[in-house]
């Protein structure tokens, strides 16, 4: 009976990746491999001011002294950085009349991914920055947002047009010395998004960036910086996909968030990089450093992530709760199937008084995958009367997968309360039979049960994202039932 339902679940979870196509576009590449010249090439391509090149070179030199971390519950094939192309940009077609115009081939690519960059048809209520390989190809709504004093543009444009802001905040939350992949990113990052919400402004639309890897043998190293001034609010969403390829591709990103007094930033991710095939061939290595600082009192940063893609995910969106009464949240659903590996979680660093954090992590493992939650809650001596609540649940589909939970808790004062709950469960044959008896087939039943399990997290997502995420959850576990 056990093996019977496992067999069924195995069949159902043999899903296919739906975004694996490649766009045929002329692309300009940096010479393969990594050395100081590569960095000069990138900086030069982007016509960066001197401080940027300096920052990059310092990061690179520091990176050379570092070793790839091995503490995560991941088995990673050695990465040969000399086999990677660190910069790839679609060539601008000569016959495009204005600078603003986007290659129709690229528009079609994003359309195929469900992202409309067409000013006429664009999703109402959402501004999009579209990044392909190493460059941003289009940011919508920029002018409208400018009326509110909001800056939403590609990182490259920010470097050109707002160098002082970039200088002030870049690396202030994730310094280039932070970790191996952060140092690498700081050296070679090529684009990403920049958001600045001025004092007292409630951003009227969702801001979003869609990352697409297209070119072969390239890595994507993007960097996002979000600054919310006093009393500002913004909700930001991030999505991503990549073609289906037999070799692994590296994606090492940095996201930094700064929230001043009374500011609130909500950051949502639906991560759907190519996960590799069912035998574990190919797929994206997703090594990401995401961190926000609640700098002022009563500020709030909320991370929500739905992680379904990537061969390997190494990612811990974190909050530094510096301001008194500041709030950090982390809501996560991580799905691993076939040979995927995920080691993900969060760090909540309580520094200010009366700070609060909430962690809700829902792992779903299928196939032969490994899914780990790793989290640190640290309450410093001065963070009196602070609170954390953590809930880490694991759902196993089948018996060949693994789920692991590593919660680390350090509390340095007596007035704070930290609570941790963890559960592990399976989809039972009883539940499947119950659904099927109501006329619901196995695939839909698993989709329904998994979405129910992840509901607490999914309902944190902005409307525009929630439906997509629900579908994605079912699809990642779906396949061909006989």
């Amino acid at each position: 009976m056990e093996s019977d339902s496992n067999k069924i679940i195995d069949e159902v979870t043999r899903g296919d990746y739906k975004y694996g196509f490649v766009t045929e576009i002329e692309t300009e590449f940096a010479p393969i491999g990594l050395c100081e010249d590569t960095i000069r090439y990138i900086s030069d391509k982007k016509r960066e001011p001197g401080f940027m090149l300096e920052f990059r070179l310092k990061a690179y030199r520091h990176w050379l002294t570092m070793k790839q971390p091995d503490w995560a519950h991941l088995s990673i094939d050695p990465i040969n950085f000399q086999d990677i192309i660190f910069y790839a940009a679609p060539k601008k077609k000569k016959d495009l009349s204005s600078l603003d115009e986007v290659d129709p081939e690229l528009l079609a690519t994003f359309n195929k991914l469900g992202i409309s960059l067409d000013e006429q048809k664009k999703l109402s209520g959402v501004a999009v920055d579209a990044v392909i390989d190493s460059v941003s190809v289009k940011t919508t709504f920029t002018e409208t947002l400018a009326k509110y004093g909001i800056i939403f543009c590609s990182f490259s444009e920010a470097v050109q047009n707002h160098p002082d802001l970039v200088k002030q905040y870049m690396g202030s939350v994730v310094p280039y010395t932070d970790n191996y992949f952060a140092a690498l990113n700081s050296a070679v990052f090529s684009d990403g998004s920049f958001c600045f919400i001025p004092k007292g402004v409630h951003c009227p639309v969702e801001l979003s960036t869609y990352f697409r890897i297209n070119a072969a043998n390239t890595g994507q190293f993007e960097r996002t910086l979000i600054v919310a001034e006093e009393g500002a609010y913004v909700s930001y969403m991030e999505g991503c996909t990549a073609p289906q390829r037999d070799e692994n591709q590296l994606h090492a990103a940095i996201v930094e968030i700064v929230a001043m007094k009374d500011a609130s930033v909500k950051y949502s991710t639906v991560q759907n990089w190519y996960p590799g095939d069912k035998n574990g061939v190919g797929g994206i290595y997703n090594f990401v450093t995401k961190r926000g600082i609640c700098k002022g009192s009563n500020s709030k940063i909320s991370w929500t992530q739905v992680e379904t893609g990537s061969a390997i995910t190494w990612k811990y969106p974190s909050c530094i709760l510096m301001g008194d009464n500041s709030v950090g949240e982390f809501y996560s659903v991580a799905v691993t199937n076939n040979q995927q590996q995920a080691d993900t979680g969060t760090k909540m660093m309580h520094l200010g008084k009366n700070t609060k954090s909430t962690i809700v992590s829902k792992g779903i493992s299928a196939g032969k995958s490994q899914n780990s939650y790793r989290g640190l809650v640290r309450v410093s001596k001065n963070a009196t009367n602070s609170r954390n609540y953590s809930q880490c649940d694991s759902l196993l589909l089948g018996s060949l997968c693994g789920a692991h939970t590593w919660p680390y808790i350090q509390v340095e004062n007596k007035s704070s309360i930290v609570e941790h709950e963890a559960t592990t469960s399976k989809i039972s044959e009883d539940q499947l039979f119950y659904c099927q008896q109501r006329g619901i087939d196995m695939e839909s039943a698993i989709g329904l049960i998994v979405n129910g399990y992840a509901k607490e997290v999914l309902r944190q997502l902005p409307m525009e994202f929630a439906v997509e995420a629900q579908k994605l959850l079912s699809i990642s576990l779906e396949g061909s039932v006989g």
């Binding site: 008896q437 087939d441 979405n451 129910g452």
Partner: protein
């Protein structure tokens, strides 16, 4: 003939539970199946519904003239077989509304009908809730999660009302209910009775049969239907207990 079971043998893990069951149910009829614990009543219901953990080793089940052997659990459900579970399972985070909307639309798709829109579905659901006297916000809650025994059983009746099956098998829907809940369950069945559908009510006690008057009563004992009769048989069982059947069988 809606349901026709002939010489049905079924086993689980090599252990034979049903040892030659014969049963015929026509449209418009209500059948009660009674019998001591562990005698195979729930197994019979599960086998009709197509639960794969049971092996059918001999005999056949015809539903609307079709041999069910080849149909999956969900196909049988879409053909109009409904099982009210003795122990309904919890599905955390899935609201009854969402669950039923998925089910109703899957069944409609099978029948070649367009799915109900959100508004149409809600209207239909409200109407059905009224019919089976569900006044609470039950439908916003997750399927069976944290439900009392009575709520679980009412939920089964509500789902039956939503899916309008041709054949509803209710497995001890009456056990553990107080008199009010029992009345709601029985009223639900009575309101849904039509000339073109049928009910098989599995029960341990004749109490339910005061409210749902059966056309036939069968006694299942050690994997076989050993006695059939009218509604008086239920009263006789109530009075004499099952020992009488046991003795008769041993003789």
């Amino acid at each position: 003939m809606l349901l026709s079971i002939q010489n049905l043998h079924a086993s689980i893990n090599g252990k034979e539970i049903l040892k030659g069951v014969n049963l015929e149910v026509n449209k418009g009829e209500v059948h009660a199946i009674m019998g001591p614990n562990g005698t195979g009543k729930s197994t019979l219901a599960s086998v009709i519904a197509g639960r794969e953990v049971f092996d059918v080793t001999a005999g056949e089940i015809l539903f609307k003239g079709t041999n069910l052997q080849k149909l999956s659990v969900e196909e049988r459900a879409r053909e109009g077989i409904f099982l009210g579970f003795q122990y309904p399972v919890e599905i955390p985070g899935v609201s009854i509304t969402n669950f039923m909307r998925t089910a109703v639309n899957e069944i409609r798709k099978y029948k070649g009908l367009d799915p109900l829109s959100g508004g149409e579905f809600i209207r239909f659901m409200e109407e059905r809730k009224k019919l089976v006297e569900i006044t609470s916000n039950l439908t916003n809650r997750s399927v069976n999660e944290g439900f009392s025994g009575g709520e679980k059983k009412k939920n089964e009746i509500f789902q039956m009302a939503m899916l309008e099956p041709a054949l509803a098998i209710l497995d001890e829907t009456d056990s553990g209910l107080d008199i009010d809940a029992l009345r709601i369950v029985a009223n639900g069945v009575n309101k849904l009775r039509r000339p073109d559908n049928a009910f098989v009510v599995i029960t341990h006690y004749q109490r339910l049969l005061d409210y749902i008057i059966p056309d036939f009563v069968h006694v299942l004992f050690q994997g076989r239907i050993v006695k059939s009769g009218g509604k008086d048989l239920a009263l006789e069982l109530e009075e004499k207990g099952y020992d009488w059947i046991k003795k008769e069988q041993e003789a």
